[in-house]
């Protein structure tokens, strides 16, 4: 099973996991790293490393960061130098649910590709749809 790590500003990632589990059911091999106000990026890098350590049983890992260019993203990037994993920035609830539902049957690269194909369908202008009808 693909291990999933979510790295975010504050506890957004921890809560995203709880919210996604409301839809998919309890998940195993999930780890989060939360960057809290006043912390150093060095603190966050340590948390990300422990998140990887927690998923030592997973052969493949997919990491989600929240904002491209943000500190969570900035701290994940240098780890790509040391180990192989898939990484997506811009995590949201529908994407995480999609990843949870398919992590049993796909490898990390396929899961990444699936999320990237899906991502444009995860945000919709609902008022726009209603106006069209």
């Amino acid at each position: 099973m693909v291990g999933i790590i979510i790295v975010t500003h504050g506890k957004f990632g921890e809560e995203l996991v709880r919210s996604a589990e409301m839809i998919t059911g309890k998940q195993e091999y999930i780890s989060t790293a939360s960057f809290m106000p006043g912390e150093l990026t060095e603190d966050l890098s340590k948390k990300i490393r422990s998140a990887f350590d927690e998923l030592v049983d997973c052969e493949k890992i997919l990491v989600f960061a929240d904002i491209y260019g943000g500190s969570p993203f900035n701290c994940v990037m240098p780890i790509l130098k040391e180990r192989q994993f898939q990484c997506i920035s811009g995590v949201n609830l529908p994407l995480l649910v999609e990843a949870f539902l398919n992590r049993d049957s796909m490898d990390a690269t396929e899961l990444n590709q699936l999320c990237m194909t899906m991502c444009h369908q995860t945000i919709k202008d609902i008022s726009g749809i209603i106006q069209c009808n």
């Binding site: 500003h9 106000p37 006043g38 912390e39 150093l40 990026t41 060095e42 603190d43 904002i67 491209y68 260019g69 943000g70 500190s71 993203f73 900035n74 990037m77 240098p78 130098k81």
Partner: protein, 153 residues
Amino acid sequence: MGLVFLRIDDRLIHGQIVTTWMKEVNSNIIIIANDLLAKDSFMKRMIELAAPPGVKVEVRGVKDTTEVLGGERFEKDRVMVLAKTVEDVVGLHKHGLGFDYVNVGGMGAKAGTKVVYRNISCSDTQMELLHQLKAEGIEIEFKIVPNEKGMKI
């Protein structure tokens, strides 16, 4: 023009915060002044690759930053310099970079520091260095984003 804005932020370029400042000071070039990063070719490449759209980013050592800003290369540009630490700013000053304002925008908490403004933490030594710069006529302001009141020392 050359240097138009000097900021200390140990998170360097992150999220929309730096781009907000760039709009505020009308700059589209960032020089990150830090000796360790300048020597780390992987991190240097990563930082330059993840530059916000339309922004040119260069990572340089402290001395190198002073020299390049003293030359003709950025004469017609409006450059923002991002320093990782107070010590980097002191280094820029010692090497002769001219500036009369330092924006302190981000310093995380670690052993030996205390919170001085919102999420910004400082050690006694760093505070003393900032006061020394102030004594030389440089304005020091703690301010994370442009639209807040901030705190001058």
